[in-house]
């Protein structure tokens, strides 16, 4: 019985390790339905940290409200991350807020890029984006913030990327949502 159990453990953990190796290869990740089934259980890690395409920009989630009269307010920003503090090497709870937005945006970008590559029309791409979990997460992030005024009835959000160089800061809009009702 002990030998039998040991063999079972050996097969499971050996297979798990081999599948992890395969999962690191992007073309295999995209084409293997079997591996995607395992990945759905979050048991296959990806060890490609900040590579091969490193994230080199800050993600900013902005929003503005519209009143019943049609007046549109100024853009505000959802406070996700924060500037580096000396304690962050040990204590950094807010990093998860930013990660949530980045992951959600990553899914939205993937859907948009896939649509463009497949020559899908813009309206269909927008529809697919709005049905995605990433879009819902971003929308929830934005709507988790209080109304700008009591008269606000609709909210629009936008995602922009900001990069920094020796020449200064460059802001690039990624997408704008339509106005959604509260």
């Amino acid at each position: 019985m002990t030998l039998f159990l040991t063999v079972i453990y050996g097969v499971i953990f050996g297979a798990w390790f081999l599948l992890t190796i395969l999962w690191q290869v992007d073309p295999i990740r995209k084409r293997s339905p079997l591996l995607r089934v395992f990945s759905a259980f979050h048991v296959l890690p990806i060890w490609t940290f900040f590579a091969p395409r490193p994230g080199m920009s800050d993600t900013h989630v902005l929003y503005r409200d519209k009143t019943l009269d049609g007046d549109v307010g100024p853009w505000g920003e959802v406070d996700l991350g924060e500037e580096r503090k000396r304690t962050h090497w040990l204590w950094n709870p807010r990093k998860r807020l930013d990660k949530m937005a980045v992951d959600a945006l990553s899914e939205v970008k993937t859907i948009k890029n896939a649509g463009v590559e497949a020559d899908t029309d813009e309206e269909t791409i927008q529809h697919q984006v709005k049905l995605s979990k990433g879009y819902l997460v971003l929308m929830n992030i934005v709507f988790s913030r209080a109304k700008a005024t009591r008269a606000s009835v609709r909210r629009q959000f936008a995602v922009v990327d900001a990069t920094h160089s020796a020449d200064g800061r460059t802001v690039l809009p990624i997408f704008f949502s339509p106005f959604h009702d509260f």
């Binding site: 002990t2 159990l5 040991t6 453990y9 050996g10 953990f13 390790f17 992890t20 190796i21 690191q24 759905a40 979050h42 048991v43 890690p45 990806i46 060890w47 490609t48 940290f49 900040f50 590579a51 091969p52 395409r53 490193p54 994230g55 080199m56 920009s57 800050d58 993600t59 991350g81 500037e83 580096r84 962050h88 090497w89 040990l90 204590w91 950094n92 709870p93 807010r94 990093k95 998860r96 807020l97 930013d98 990660k99 949530m100 992951d103 959600a104 899914e107 979990k133 990433g134 819902l136 997460v137 929830n140 992030i141 709507f143 988790s144 900001a162 990069t163 920094h164 160089s165 020796a166």
Partner: protein, 267 residues
């Protein structure tokens, strides 16, 4: 070092990470409530929401459920630290700490990172190969699995950077460390104006990460030195980039790496 000692150190180190993450979760508890950023009805795992146990998961992953799981994580880690290995109290504390951590791991589809993945692998392996089983060979399988996953993680991380033109050219470091998310005022100044420093640092990271796994084949003191380099790398990443949880998640795999490396050199 005996396998039991390896797993004990693994649990202690991973437990520090679990405790910190639990306290961080409690600090953000408002965001786990309805309409918060981590509202379960929005960010929750679709597979769980569609399962026959959906009502149970809805309760477990409500903000009260998450707060409870986090408090359990902190208390059980404390219990682990004060109880003697091999006792029933130790086993219960370890099991509950692992269970609460894995429960939180499966809560949401977004927002997880490499530290969460490594912690999951380390803890679930510890659960099945150490807590559930007392068979020496099975315990060894778990230790080898953790050690090889750590080696793979470093090698793949380095290899993925090697094939990246941003990393080979040095722009990756200046790009990443000039952000407000992962950089500081000092890194923004330093790395946007000194391209040679960026290139040197990029290639240092690539070379170090790809070579770290080969530390398994050194003498024990070399294995320890390899882990020292890896630990220093994670601490510097935590200080500069704020990625504090990677320190504990990856260090939790170090005892297994040391055990395997020592076994390979001594036989």
């Amino acid at each position: 070092m005996e396998p039991e000692t390896v797993y004990h150190y693994t649990l202690v180190i991973a437990g520090v990470g679990v405790a910190i993450k639990s306290l961080e979760t409690l600090a953000l508890r408002r965001e786990y409530q309805a309409r918060g950023v981590f509202d379960y009805t929005i960010v929750g795992n679709d597979a769980l929401a569609g399962s026959p146990f959906a009502p149970l998961f809805t309760r477990l992953y409500s903000w009260k459920g998450v707060a409870t799981l986090s408090i359990v994580g902190v208390i059980t880690f404390s219990g682990l630290m004060v109880s003697d290995p091999g006792t029933a109290a130790y086993t219960v504390a370890a099991t509950l700490m692992i269970a609460s951590s894995i429960a939180i791991y499966y809560r949401q589809a977004f927002g997880l990172d490499g530290a969460d993945q490594m912690t999951f692998l380390v803890l679930i392996t510890t659960l099945f190969c150490f807590i559930v089983s007392s068979v020496a060979a099975i315990r060894a399988i778990g230790i080898w699995f953790i050690a090889l996953q750590l080696a793979l993680a470093y090698f793949v991380s380095g290899a993925a950077k090697l094939v990246s033109k941003e990393w080979r050219s040095g722009t990756a470091i200046s790009g990443i460390l000039s952000t407000y998310t992962y950089g500081t005022g000092l890194t923004r100044k330093l790395f946007t104006r000194n391209s040679w420093l960026c290139v040197a640092l990029c290639w240092s990271v690539i070379v170090v990460e790809m070579l770290l796994p080969f530390g398994l084949f050194l003498e024990p003191v070399g294995v320890a030195a390899t882990l020292g380099v890896a630990f220093a790398m994670h601490v510097s990443i935590a200080v500069v980039m704020g990625l504090n949880d990677f320190v504990w998640a990856f260090a939790a795999a170090f005892p297994s790496f040391y055990y395997v490396g020592t076994w390979l050199s001594l036989g």
